[in-house]
């Protein structure tokens, strides 16, 4: 029997506010010493009163709007009670039955096929403290608590079980992250834990409405991990079903090093969160006027940016989509185009795009850097492009200059001069190099005269090597032909 895969996602993302969700401690704890961003409120001391961060509400509403959600006028916070040391108060302030946004959707595209993924809800809660597990000298394990993260605004986005493959889930997540980055509400960094994802995975006989047991998969710390974990889990379930085994509703953790999902030990009693309305926080009314104001403030989202690049700069759809797929890259491209004032911007746009998607992306990835960390500024990249257009640099020399720009942040003209990479404009120097190459490669010359065209390419290569890429390959070819045919 054929089974289809059913996936629902639950995403938690930290919001980029200055202060925490319910107190004024700084939410930027990444490089802070342990327990240095803590106050009586996030420490859960008796008698303190939390206050709602307006910005966090606005970010959640903006996200919900970008995900086409309905924003109910009434929303409130609730207490979710459970005993775990990462909760300082013994409960987490969250939202239960009146979330910020409901009934949204997002289009996702996999292998050219567009599908609509419904968003069940968008709600706000507070992040929890960080636990560090250690073992003492006699093998007893214990935990250390750093409360800095507790109280950082955390937004939860839950999809309906509408995803049908691990690849679709990955595409959805990447698009969602891009939207959050465009909105400026989250860094979307998965490795650093500011963007986290759990998944519900099940299978069902094709055409049937009944899924077999729903399995919750946790502990996926990268987009690749999400894909691999879901692939593994879906095929594990198919295998169990094929062998007529029984599937259990359970929670499984992804073990990245082993490439498997493993059952997680569950608590011995059923979850009993005893939600009730948070007595310390009055409810909220999200007036249509406020929501409209936030709607009007939404920046252009990836698809709008892609269309803009394609129409304004006549970029191919492929380039426009890749550039717009990352807010940082799209911004960088925009800066490059702003730094250019000459005629025919569309011709320039394609060249800039080639550099950004080629060498620039290659070096950024190779160094594991973020685009904003790049030492090459947009005006410098434009200057490099101009030098190529003016034939001041050959292709290989331009790549060498770019590498040096990437390493040092120095301007291209200075580097080209220092490395002696500016194109040889003295024709007699090129001619001398051509003659030397002909003299040193007698066999290739014989082969060429016998009609072997590849020998010409070989000889051009020899001249380029001798001039360290500084000769213009077109000019070299021309002179070579002339010398070979007359010689």
């Amino acid at each position: 029997m054929e089974h289809e895969t059913i996936i629902g996602l639950e995403v938690h993302t930290q919001l980029l506010t200055r202060s925490k969700m319910f107190c004024r401690c700084s939410a930027d704890y990444a490089s802070a010493p342990p327990n240095s961003h803590v106050c009586p409120v996030c420490l859960g001391m008796p008698g303190v009163l939390p206050t709602i961060n307006r910005k966090a509400i606005e970010y959640a509403v903006m996200t919900a709007l970008a995900l086409q959600c309905r924003i109910p006028e009434f929303t409130k916070f609730d207490r979710k009670n459970y005993p775990y040391p990462d909760l300082m108060k013994g409960y987490q302030i969250s939202q239960y039955d009146a979330p910020i946004g409901v009934q949204g959707w997002m289009l996702t595209e996999t292998a050219g096929e567009q599908r609509r993924v419904n968003i069940k809800r968008v709600h706000l809660e507070e992040d929890v403290a960080k636990l560090i597990h250690r073992t003492d000298s006699v093998g007893e394990s214990y935990s250390l608590i750093d409360v800095n993260r507790a109280g950082v605004p955390l937004m939860e986005i839950v999809t309906e079980p509408d995803l049908r493959s691990p690849e679709e889930a990955r595409q959805f997540l990447m698009k969602l992250r891009t939207i959050l980055q465009y909105l400026g509400v989250s860094t979307g960094n998965m490795e650093e834990g500011s963007f986290r994802c759990d998944a519900n995975v099940s299978i069902r006989p094709e055409g049937s409405a009944d899924t077999l047991a729903k399995v919750e998969v946790k502990n996926m710390n990268s987009f690749k991990a999400v894909y691999r974990a879901l692939e593994f889990e879906a095929s594990r379930q198919r295998k169990v079903a094929a062998e007529r085994g029984r599937l259990y509703q359970e929670t499984r953790g992804w073990a990245d090093d082993k490439g498997v999902t493993q059952p997680q030990r569950s608590k011995e009693y059923a979850q009993d969160y005893r939600y009730f309305p948070e007595p310390d926080l009055p409810p909220l009314t999200l007036s249509p006027a406020w929501v409209d104001e936030l709607r009007a403030s939404l920046p252009g989202l990836p698809e709008a940016r892609r269309d803009q690049f394609a129409s304004r700069y006549a970029l191919p759809e492929y380039d426009a989509r890749l550039l717009a797929g990352s807010k940082a890259l799209a911004d960088y491209f925009g800066e490059c185009m702003k730094a250019y004032h000459g005629p025919a911007p569309e011709k320039r746009a394609k060249t800039v795009s080639n550099w950004l998607l080629g060498e620039f992306a290659r070096w950024i990835n190779a160094e594991g850097m973020e685009i904003h960390q790049s030492r090459v500024t947009p005006p410098q990249l434009v200057e490099l492009v101009e030098m190529c257009e003016q034939n001041a640099l050959t292709g290989p020399a331009a790549k060498a200059v770019f590498e040096e720009m990437f390493r040092t942040g120095h301007p291209p003209r200075e580097i080209a001069a220092r490395l002696g990479l500016t194109q040889i404009s003295d024709l007699s120097a090129v001619e001398a190099a051509v003659k030397a190459a002909i003299a040193a490669n007698a066999q290739a010359v014989v082969d060429f005269r016998a009609g072997k065209q590849q020998s010409l390419t070989f000889l051009v290569g020899q001249v380029m090597k001798a001039t360290r890429g500084r000769a213009n390959p077109g000019v070299v070819t021309e002179i070579l032909r002339r010398e070979l045919e007359t010689g």
């Binding site: 342990p34 961060n53 040391p85 214990y142 409360v147 009693y269």
Partner: protein
């Protein structure tokens, strides 16, 4: 409504309280009493009263997103029964 001993024990487990037999019985009495008082309140006719979770009609109490000073870590840890370096230290708890 009288709570059963089992219900009291379940609640105690949820909030991680170890109760003696005497305490289970005493809390069963007291908690049942609270529930009975709510049963009396439930007799009030609230047909035309909108539900609320708050007794003061406040809404939209919000704070601007500005960060302020936090406590000194030494102060944060000053009540900790057990600490290590600049962290609270607790016994290992079963991972979820």
């Amino acid at each position: 409504m009288k709570l059963s001993r089992e219900e009291v024990k379940h609640l105690a487990l949820l909030v991680r309280l170890g109760l003696s037999e005497d305490e289970i019985e005493r809390l069963r009495e007291q908690l049942s009493n609270i529930l009975e008082n709510f049963e009396i309140l439930q007799q009030v006719d609230t047909t035309d009263v909108p539900p609320t979770a708050h007794c003061i009609a406040l809404e939209n109490v919000l704070r601007d997103d500005q960060s302020g000073p936090s406590l000194a870590p030494e102060e944060v840890l000053s009540n900790a029964p057990n600490r290590e370096e600049q962290y609270f230290r607790v016994r290992a708890v079963l991972e979820q």
